[in-house]
């Protein structure tokens, strides 16, 4: 093969490449355009897809008996934490108000949810019309109880959120944070004084702040003040319901932030005064975000409580609120997908670190601190910036080359 042939072949080859690229260019630009235009929708769909895939992955692992028991026990709590993280992201990331009392709403939801499900358990006997209605439709009554208790929990937590929101949303910044913290503690404090019993025969509920007031006969005490929720069995929360709630939450939050209302919420966060001058009722939109968030947190609380036969009140303390906040911040403020991932990973992390046992919380917090330091340090930031810039340049050069060719 002489020099001339070589040249021709190279020439032909480059031509062929160019032709290929010109064929590919149009779709690529199109894809780029579509991505730019529907960036949010694509991210949202990806989030749903991820959750559904995770569900099937877990189910197949359970079927294949590859999943450890402790991990299987974590599935529903993980769902609850995802819902909590996503809902808190609505307040902190989208609405821009630092809330440190999210566990309070969770607690309200847990208590009201358990009350609802216990009441239904005893109020509707197996002969009652309500029970038979679902029996005939071949629907498990436990599922009905769970769903109704979720709704009840959501409604009550939403009402509490609204009542708390009236004073809280008048404040700003750190003061708002401390007041939400205070409300969270108040809720927990009041709830730890509450005793609720249900009449095993009629389903009548008995609320009291004093243990001795409850008649022992026929009554089952299931919320026992400082001991928390007890005897909440059999468990009615399942992984399917958990995933369902996660998807429901994603639907509400993602669609909300991408609608007229959501844009208004974001505008109020970005610049309150400008938002007011644009005719937005800032308090109204902050309230919508706050109440929606409280509502979903309540549902998560009901799900969480229904997964355990007993839950102590310290599960709903400030520590939990902060834990959820950590999920949100590490996942990225305003980033829903990030919240989902970080809630999952950070709930699993201590579980996976079980071998270290004594050190696992330590490792957890060290990971947390290092993540914060690394993601926020100027050196790393400039490095990431440089990489992005380099990628952009590379991309831009390719584009101009294409432009020159055409």
């Amino acid at each position: 093969m002489n020099q001339k042939h070589k040249m021709t072949i190279t020439h032909l080859f480059t031509h062929a490449l160019e032709i290929c690229e010109s064929f590919l260019r149009q779709p690529r630009i199109m894809a780029e355009k579509i991505y730019q235009k529907h960036k949010m929708t694509i991210t949202h769909l990806f989030t749903y897809a991820l959750v559904i895939c995770a569900y099937f992955a877990c189910q197949s692992m359970i079927k294949a008996e590859k999943m450890t028991l402790s991990l299987e026990g974590q599935l529903v709590p993980i769902c609850a934490y995802i819902v909590l993280a996503v809902s808190l992201n609505l307040t902190v990331g989208i609405s821009g108000e630092l809330s440190l009392g999210h566990a309070g709403f969770m607690y309200v939801g847990a208590i009201t949810g358990v009350i609802a499900s216990m009441w239904m358990r005893y109020a509707f006997t197996e002969e009652s019309a309500f029970f038979l209605f679902f029996e005939n439709m071949n629907i498990d009554f436990a599922l009905v109880r769970m769903l109704i208790s979720l709704i009840v929990a959501g409604v009550f937590a939403g009402i509490v959120g609204f009542i708390i929101g009236i004073p809280v949303l008048r404040l700003r910044g750190d003061y708002l944070a401390i007041v939400t913290l205070a409300f969270g503690e108040i809720i927990r404090n009041i709830m730890t004084c509450l005793y609720v019993a249900v009449n095993k025969k009629t389903g009548a509920l008995n609320f009291t702040f004093n243990n001795s007031d409850i008649p022992s006969k026929d009554f089952k005490l299931f919320i026992k003040g400082p001991t928390g929720i007890t005897g909440n069995s059999p468990k009615i929360a399942t992984f399917v319901i958990g995933i369902g709630l996660v998807l429901f939450t994603l639907l509400i939050v993602q669609n909300l932030i991408n609608s007229r209302t959501g844009r208004a919420i974001k505008a109020c966060r970005d610049n309150r005064i400008a938002a007011e001058s644009m005719g937005l009722n800032v308090t109204k939109y902050k309230m919508i975000a706050f109440v929606t968030s409280a509502c979903l947190a309540g549902m998560a609380g009901a799900l969480y409580a229904a997964n355990f036969s007993s839950v102590v009140p310290s599960k709903f303390s400030i520590d939990t609120s902060i834990l959820i906040l950590v999920f949100v911040v590490l996942g990225g403020l305003g980033n829903i997908l990030g919240s989902v991932i970080s809630a999952t990973v950070l709930t699993l992390l201590p579980e996976l670190l079980r071998e270290f046992d004594d050190y696992r919380m330590l490792v957890y917090v060290v990971v947390l601190i290092l993540t914060m330091l690394i993601t926020n340090s100027p050196i790393v930031k400039s490095l990431i910036g440089a990489i992005k810039e380099g990628a952009k340049k590379l991309f831009a050069r390719k584009n101009t080359e294409n432009g020159a060719n055409s």
Binding site: V92, L98, P167, R170, L171, R172, D174, Y175, A177, I178, V179, L181, A182, F183, E185, I186, N189, I190, T192, C193, I273, I318, I322, L325, V326, V329, L330, L333, D358, Y359, M361, L362, Y364, V365, V366, L368, I369, M372, L373, T375, N376, S377, P378
Partner: protein, 302 residues
Amino acid sequence: MITFLTYLINGLNIGSVYAVIALGYTMVYGVAKMLNFAHGDVIMVGAFLAYCVCAYLGLHPIIAVLGAVIGCTILGILIERLAYKPLRQATSLAVLITAIGMSYFLQNMAQLIWGSDTKSFPSIIQGDAIVLFKTVQDGVTKTLTLSPINILTMASCFIIMIALTLFINKTKMGKAMRCVSEDKGAAELMGINVNLTISVTFAIGSALAAVAGILLCASNYAPLSPTTGSLPGIKAFTAAVFGGIGSIPGAMLGGILLGLIENLGKAYVSSELADAFVFGILIVVLLVKPTGLLGKKIHEKV
């Protein structure tokens, strides 16, 4: 009447401890503009250090106090340098999360070193309680006493506040702190070493935390364990907000009021709902005066 006075003295006592903790919070907030969530755990570390010096080494309580103060000062500076300084330019939420992480880190370290069981704190001051008042009513003798630790707590709280006020207002470093709290950038342009100033603030705050930790445990308000500092920390923080965060007299006033409210609430409202009562009052105050009792009002410029 005597019962009331006893509650009052107890309230003043715990209030003084809250005030000392709140001073640390408020100083750090004022200068570094961050909520140092780890402050409550520095208290715990201080108490543990003092406990170690007393119980393991068997030294005099004064040395224990000194040791705890020095140890916590170093700890405070270390925390600031390692965890907070790299985040000076970051968002306040990132700093808050790091502080929360630091808080859990200290708790877990303490648990590893000292175990999670509660320790009984040695009494750091001996002496008989002073009987202020004595009555016999219906055959029951009621006495109003002031124990040495009460006197020590209130006195040290008072001295600390005066010393701190003088430090802030009369010394060069104090002036630098006030400058940094107003405007970090401008202070730097005026030749103030901002990093040093913030480190000193943390050092002072942590030293105060050590004192507060010892007083807290010596007054038997909380048993000594790795989680000793969390709740008093949060309460002292609300006290600082209550009085107007960033203001030293505000922290003092807030702390003492909080202690009084808590104790009187426990006595006359409900012992179980005391915390709810304290936080309820905080909310009412913030709604009436959104910047706290002695806080400054900040206008947003349009």
